[in-house]
Symmetry: D2
């Protein structure tokens, strides 16, 4: 059985209006997620604005998440830096601060091929005392993790799992079948796509890492529960409700905002409206939603039946 | 209810060794598919080598498919050319030869944006007496069909459906939800990804257009049948068997062969081994599998329980 | 010495308002180019809307160009189709209609790799009685022609030259040096980028294929003439004037028009304003410039000192 | 007149075998570049392995370069991090350590559009006491800096220049013409492409930032000197010699090494063979060249007439 299963939201990092990590909001958010029934927490992922934060801010955010979770659920820590030496520095921090596992992408900014990617993941794993999950996110790093490499590193125990945000459901299926064929049941196969969790669970995902799970953790917990009971019609219905809720990311005009602003901005705006965090502030060069955009987020939250407080 | 549902394989176009359309092999293939229980036929798609064939060869292939199907199931005809005027020529041929619908991609080779793509689909639909399905295949044309455009063209009746080969399951889900919200039940939402048909049917696909369905039509028919009965565990098991069978595309060394050769080459090699078509010949610049590669295809066919005859 | 040198504009194909090839406008355009002093003509290239035209229209356009040129300069014919068999059909037409050479891209729409590209070019060349130039245009076909392949096919005489529209000036330099090192002086290295002809000639280009050369052939002839005399400051000054003239492509709003419309639309609008062709009509899904856009083209033509007649 | 002109190599960061910054090798390298006659130094760029180094290592490298240059030439410091807050931390370090200017890319890893890129550059410039040059390197960050934005930020004095490693010579020409038209003579337009410096200088570049300039600074100084004297034939000849020398990057098998390893690895191997630095060590996940690869580098150095010492 794989260790990392169920709903594992990528925790957003609440900021004060002057851009500092907002400790009490983050504590409330973690509690909100635990109250929602989540099975794990992914700190310092893309939704956590990890590549915007200084190392000190990252350390504080991870520390707050680990302490607030207090062992109730495992905490995975993103160690997201362009290349091996800097990733290893973040692995050291994750070990020191009590994370249960690390999550590592392919190198980015540097021009690498399959050989360099494999060398990178092997070097990180070899130097780490914690389990390492690979983070497959080509939209951010420019490259898809090769299927044959993932199967090899799973078989050798170099990787403990994959967080798949590649959007490549065909490769996901091939990976699942390949893992089954080599009997790697302990390998965690997590999907990062909050709109297709039902189909990915049907296909054999171990769990999900839904950014939207910050906003509606209980919804994703219900979805997983339906799937566990093989009630796939129920899973689909819950997934479609969450799919409609995801329209909060369409609140800003796409002609003047790109993905980062739309995703993290929407999650934080929603959490602010739900009364979970104090400010919807996002890091530069993203921007905070304006009143009209916030109004559109509120409307979707209400349609989804969430408890809007602001 | 949408008109185009169930299993609709993209029929490969058998060739003689000197590159001519092999009429009798094509007749046998169509009969093999009908015997397998398919619900429709997609002629002159990517798997049908349409962009390799001359117009005369295309006409012959479509004519043979329409005549052999003889009204038992609908025939959709790919009208795949870089830009509007040439697509319209192919629409004329489809009308003349008795196809039931046409399938049209975004422009390719020419550098277009969303406005040009929408103008293209509107112009084709306006000039066509047959229903038009959009073919979303960014890996071939370089652009994904925009979600908002598809919903608009569905609402206005410009398009009768989409064949989605984008591999973007998130957009597929968003399209399904959007169609439901605007009550476009008559719009056909077909998936072209043969490895995730179970998940796509769970998500609300109207049908599938699996290239691998040339090789094992009965398998896809069973998969759909499980889904119709809400037996999702059964659907998944059948899908996984087909997923393993898909490994026939890995028979050639990826360092020396790209996608086209691997896909069409594998399907034709398999159909040859199954005794359905006389020659595994593919068009230049693809190449026919060698003996070792053919051996690996045979092995997978046997593992999948198919009746190898050669 | 390479055979194809100097200014070789990719001739646009004038259309009547109902989308037919406008024979008399095309004759006037060819005469305008010859009067401008060009050294060759490239028929049925991207600027010639070749992928929009039916085979009959292509044949008519090539026929008019060859007859009007009447041997005064060589005529290269684009044979631009997705894959080998259809390209060979176009090669047959080029041979029949009296072209002096053919120009062939990598396959497109079909998913190919380096091996398939090389097999394609070798097959076309082997079956052709005319010299074959490769057309390197990744923005249209999705792949750059590999440097080592080009050098190999040059050395073996498979290719007579390259029309480089890749925008990769580093690869262009490497190709020039490589050709020099293997003493392939007869190989034509043509640049398709109308804004950097001075630098490309300095780097050792044999000639240029400037789309903007339809509008101002005499300007490009002067630019080449400066380069021939090693007057590089003069070449740069002329190039900069032409660079400013190229702003005609910015006449439409980029938010609602993509590359094809902007380029071909601008050239045709300009030629119409200059009195060379009767209509600025472009093929669907492109659109003809509106009055405001046409006004901006007129302004640039006047700034460049051209003789506006309409 | 622009402030940053002439040859400004992106200084590689020599490492000891255990991955620490090798201070004495770096001092020798800076001296080697100054002896070669360079006009400036670009510290902590892509060739400087900046995204591999810890902040402490970056600070040490920049400190050594500034101290060794000792005001003889200006030092530009790369401040290369995925998003604004972390870039600003690096700007603070550059200010503290005595750099003369900073060099900043578009955001990377985060999904941004034109609006976010402009907000990023404006925010960095506003918070910086040093001049800011934009670093246009789509191969690393995934996006090209838009022409209109660059012209706007030049006109407003937000940016002091651009280091163009986009390989888009057409856009380079358009930027040069645009800057001339708005009379921004003080804006530095630097090319990062070591194989086309002659053509870029002809087109009006202010200077070059050639990675290969680490290996043969005197060659690039000669090339610029020819250009300054309008001896373009001389410039081309020198450029071609340097273009052949650049073949050191082809020493490893491209099937098993990607760009980063090939470029930085080749420059460091060459500098080691020339006796300038003590070790050719590169950061993980790159790898050091093996004996056969080193032999091929030696061969090219000898062909180029450089003084091989090892």
């Amino acid at each position: 059985m794989s260790t990392y299963t169920g709903v594992i939201p990528p925790v957003v990092t609440p900021l004060t209006e002057d851009g500092q990590v907002d400790r009490s909001s983050l504590e409330r958010l973690v509690q909100y997620l635990l109250d929602g029934g989540v099975d794990g927490l992914f700190a310092l992922g893309s939704s956590g604005e990890t590549v915007f934060l200084t190392d000190a801010q990252r350390d504080m955010a991870l520390d707050v998440i680990v302490r607030t979770a207090a062992g109730a659920v495992p905490v995975m820590a993103g160690c997201i830096e362009p290349a091996t030496p800097r990733v290893l520095d973040r692995v050291r921090a994750a070990e020191r601060l009590g994370a249960d596992a690390t999550v590592v992408t392919a190198p980015f900014y540097v021009i690498v091929g399959p050989y360099e990617i494999e060398r990178h993941l092997r070097a990180v794993s070899a130097a780490s005392s914690l389990p390492v999950l690979a983070y497959d996110i080509p939209v951010c790093v420019g490259r898809k993790l090769p299927l044959d490499m993932l199967l090899r590193l799973a078989a050798e125990g170099v990787l403990a799992g994959v967080k798949d945000s590649s959007g490549d459901d065909v490769a996901f299926r091939q990976l699942r079948i390949g893992l089954d064929d080599q009997q790697d049941a302990g390998f965690s196969l997590l999907t990062g796509h909050e709109l297709v969790v039902d189909g990915m669970l049907l296909a054999g995902a171990s769990g999900s890492v839904p950014g939207l799970g910050n906003v509606d953790p209980a919804g994703y917990v219900r979805l997983h529960s339906y799937a566990d009971k093989q009630d796939w019609a129920g899973a689909r219905t819950e997934q479609e409700r969450l799919g409609r809720l995801f329209r909060i990311v369409d609140a800003p005009d796409p002609a003047t905002t790109a993905g980062a602003t739309r995703g993290v901005g929407a999650f934080k705006t929603a959490l602010h409206l739900l009364g979970v965090i104090d400010s919807p502030t996002v890091s530069l060069p993203m921007r905070t939603f304006d009143d009209a955009e916030t109004g559109r987020v509120r409307e979707q939250l209400e349609l989804a039946g969430l408890d809007v407080r602001r």
